[in-house]
């Protein structure tokens, strides 16, 4: 897939642990998502050549930028990468135009100015070319940084949390501009972000990074809804993570049946998990339905369970609800419902309610395979999941 794109394989244990393999095709936007300190920026710096990695291979098109086995380490200057840094890193003593022209220093002097102006115009900065960075707003600085990064005609564009330092309105506008600009960009684009919504909005694919390790890569929506491990699920903000046993597979009905806290729950068919096996399962809070007050039996619906509302927090027109199922000593179920549903059913803390798990949204994952970790985790918390 990445014949013409970027392939990266990096491994080192110190000073910063890295175990990452990513690829990004031409014209593709790959989002590297992970919490602070997960090694996202380190990975980006290694791709740019700003950081030396102990062991690794980086290819871009037909060029090798890094091959530690063959002692190849191409300098950042020769890699031709365009980088937009988190704080933009504009040259503060130079005007917007001079910032862009600096990246064009190997272009004949006669052309340089015209091309610099062309890039500024393309990024809607006309009339601001003589302003210094301190005289520009955050969004304008971001655009100058993008113009500077693109002016060189980079083989790869790297964006390090490019939207984190601007206000929400500016960010939404910049999203549109980047999406617009991307139609014309034929290079691989790697964007680091901690914002999942941003990744879902802009990325073609995303990789989840934690402690320097790529845990999962794939289509953003797929990664979001089908995490490969409880750890990824946790990093993606899933709160409903439980353990269950696989009871049977019903291929005709497209269903896998699991046993959870004494309930038979129907899930989307996931026959890769053997019958009898212990699994971890997750469901987005938006896919847990509040059937109403009363008991599951009364509702007569499948995948319905009884619970007691432990907490109800209003967040605008939605309510975040925490429900105990099978006792308050077990991890609760989290759900998010519109406020009119809360009002309609007269839901309040302490209320007896029936919940329903949408079968197609129940996603199974392996339990913890590592025995030492399993023992540790069990000791910590999971006995009662």
């Amino acid at each position: 897939m990445s014949e013409q794109g970027l392939t990266v394989r990096l491994r080192q244990s110190s000073p910063i642990a890295l175990d990452a393999e990513i690829s990004c095709a031409r014209g593709e936007l790959l989002a590297l998502v992970g919490p602070s300190g997960s090694g996202k920026t380190t990975l980006l710096k290694a791709i740019a050549g700003l950081l030396r990695v102990r062991s690794g291979l980086i290819n871009c098109g037909d060029e090798t930028w890094l091959d530690t086995d063959r002692a190849i380490h191409v300098s950042p200057q020769q890699r031709r990468v365009g980088v937009v840094f988190q704080q933009y890193a504009l040259f503060p003593h130079l005007s917007a135009l001079a910032n862009v022209m600096e990246a064009l220093h190997d272009v004949p002097a006669a052309e340089r100015r015209a091309r610099g102006l062309g890039w500024l115009e393309r990024l809607h900065l006309r009339g601001l070319e003589h302003r210094k960075p301190a005289q520009l707003s955050g969004g304008q600085q971001q655009r100058v940084a993008l113009a500077r990064a693109l002016a060189r005609g980079p083989r790869v564009l790297l964006l390090d949390e490019p939207f984190s330092a601007v206000d929400r309105m500016t960010r939404l506008k910049l999203y549109e501009e980047v999406a617009d600009l991307r139609r014309d960009l034929a290079m691989p684009v790697v964007m680091v972000t901690h914002d999942l919504d941003e990744a879902l909005l802009l990325a073609d694919r995303m990789s989840i990074l934690s402690d320097g390790v790529i845990l999962q890569s794939g289509l953003p929506f797929e990664v979001m809804t089908r995490p490969e491990s409880p750890r990824v699920a946790g990093l993606l903000g899933h709160r409903n993570i439980f353990r269950a046993g696989v009871l049977e597979h019903l291929p005709q009905g497209g269903t896998t049946v699991i046993e959870w806290r004494g309930h038979r729950l129907r899930a989307r068919l996931q026959s890769q998990f053997a019958v009898g096996r212990q699994v971890t399962w997750t469901i987005p809070r938006s896919h847990v339905v509040l059937v109403g007050r009363g008991t599951a039996g009364e509702s007569g619906q499948e995948n319905a369970v009884d619970g007691v509302v432990a907490q109800l927090v209003r967040l605008g027109e939605n309510a975040s609800i925490v429900v105990h199922v099978g006792g308050s000593d077990r991890p609760p179920v989290f759900l998010s419902v519109p406020m009119h549903v809360v009002r309609g059913h007269d839901i309040a803390p302490g209320a007896q309610v029936a919940l329903r798990f949408l079968p197609e949204a129940i996603h199974l994952m392996p339990g913890d395979r590592d025995p030492s970790r399993r023992a540790h985790v069990r000791a910590m918390q999971t006995d009662n999941i």
Binding site: K45, A48, G49, L50, S75, P76, Q77, R79, R80, V81, G82, V83, F85, Q86, Q87, A89, L90, F91, P92, H93, E102, A103, H105, D106, R131, A134, Q135, L136, S137, Q140, A145, R148, A149, R152
Partner: protein
């Protein structure tokens, strides 16, 4: 007015400044960005002239430059004259005792340049020389300029080290600071006063000019 002493002082100060400009940029930049074992010791040694009495520093330099020292002998063999009590010896001493005045402000100035700006320059394809010339020096310029002016003014006023290493040979090592002392010793208070005032005016003018050139223009409001 001891014109030869004033001229000698100005020449010594200018040459010291000229030598410490590239040396200070190189060392200050290295100390700002590189991490290496023994860095605190190197920084401490470079800062010594700030805390040592000038006579102590002068004594060690006298011993190090003297005819019996390896450095003194080497110099004599190569140049055919002794290093101590010569203008060249005085210049070398002046460079050494001015090291902290030149390096420290320059180091601080380079430290203030964000690493990301440096990285951005490299990723924009700028060579190391172009980064130095187009990005680092302009950004560090206020620090570099004040370092050079401090060095200049400090050389004009240095007394103890100059006396120990240079002696007081008219036209060769007798600086204006020593001349002022001599005039006072011989009760020529008017002469001493005139020279002191000259030194005061030159130093004040140099420092004021630095403040004027390095003062940041008032920031325009963000748009």
């Amino acid at each position: 007015m001891d014109w030869p002493a004033l001229a000698l002082s100005l020449e010594l100060a200018a040459l010291t400044m000229l030598i410490l400009f590239p040396a200070g940029v190189w060392i200050g930049r290295a100390l700002a960005w590189r991490r290496f074992r023994g860095k605190p010791l190197v920084e401490a040694v470079l800062a010594l002239p700030l805390v040592l009495p000038p006579t102590v520093l002068g004594y060690y330099l006298l011993v190090a430059f003297g005819g019996t020292s390896p450095l003194g002998q080497l110099y004599e063999r190569l140049i055919g004259q002794q290093l101590v009590f010569s203008f060249e010896g005085l210049l070398l001493a002046s460079v050494l005792f001015n090291l902290p005045f030149a390096i420290q402000p320059m180091q601080r100035a380079f430290e203030a340049i964000p690493l990301e700006v440096h990285d951005a320059a490299a990723c924009s394809g700028l060579s190391a020389w172009r980064i130095l010339w187009r990005i680092e020096l302009p950004l560090a310029w206020p620090g570099i300029l004040s370092a050079l002016v401090l060095t200049f003014a400090h050389t004009l006023g240095e007394f103890g080290v100059v006396l120990m290493v240079g002696g007081s040979i008219p036209g060769e090592t007798k600086t204006i600071a020593i001349s002022i002392y001599d005039r006072v010793q011989s009760f020529d208070m008017a002469g001493a006063g005139l020279m002191s005032a000259t030194l005061l005016v030159i130093s004040l003018a140099a420092i004021t000019a630095t403040f004027m050139t390095t003062q940041r223009p008032e920031r325009l409001p963000r748009v």
